[in-house]
Symmetry: C2
Subunit: 158 residues, 2 copies
């Protein structure tokens, strides 16, 4: 349905609560699937399937906008997640390895609404131990929650 | 001492443990003072004046390198903090609002080593409540350490 020479837009989505290299990897892999990378950052009120973000939506958006690889970033719609997708009109929508949507469900929902974008799941980044915000927060709780575990921390003495 | 037309390099430094808009503000303000922004990211082993970083140095470096405004980023030297500064030869070195160096001490140390860079302290970012990694971690410990405080968290019921 796309005309030759048309810009191929890719949409990536996420909470991007505490930015880490797993996010950068997801965005880089997404960007490779087209010409422009558009990011939809989840609204605070819409993050219901996991603990609420630590960082507010306006701040999360600013950090995503500061990334070189991101052509455009915006907050999601509070009530209709398909509205920004219709506005951007992407050729591809990517899912991160731990995003809770099932590809088939998302594809069906897009088809129902007449949106012709492909859905591509990006694999997990394997380079580092902290590949998700959840793991980073677990590490903070584990290490900082108990000052005795932190070798260089003043509270721990030494 | 700089020739006309020479590139004016700015050096910004920091741990950049959990990237937040306070960091982006610091880097943007630093970038305005010259033509190229070079960032020196603190080595894990050299972060001694505050709790150890949650995120490892290689990951912290990758996230800083992904920022549009950063021309070049590298890890600090393990033993000589002035080595990368000599290599970059900046016109300006900036300090963040909460960096522990005193300007006068840093200026004296630079003069002693024949490094002619200016030292500029960048003010605090006032836009958001979470303007430092310390405050973000405090918030994580406060909110996530006690599931009853998290309204939308499954652990909290509802």
């Amino acid at each position: 349905m796309k005309r030759a020479g048309q810009v191929r837009r890719v949409v990536a989505t996420g909470t991007f609560d505490i930015l880490h290299p797993g996010h950068i990897y997801y965005l880089e892999e997404s960007r490779k699937l087209g010409d422009e990378l558009h990011v939809i950052v989840a609204r605070d009120a819409n993050v219901r399937h996991k603990p609420r973000p630590v960082i507010g939506e306006a701040q999360r958006l600013k950090v995503v906008q500061a990334l070189r690889i991101v052509d455009s970033a915006r907050l999601g719609d509070a009530t209709d997640m398909f509205r920004p997708i219709r506005e951007i009109d992407p050729a591809v929508i990517t899912l991160g390895f731990n995003q809770h949507f099932r590809e088939e469900d998302l594809k069906a929902a897009l088809r129902e609404r007449g949106i012709g974008a492909e859905v591509v799941r990006i694999g997990e980044y394997s380079g580092d131990p902290c590949t998700s915000t959840r793991k980073i927060i677990e590490r903070i709780l584990q290490v900082r929650g108990n000052p005795e575990l932190v070798p260089g921390d003043r509270k721990g003495g030494a």
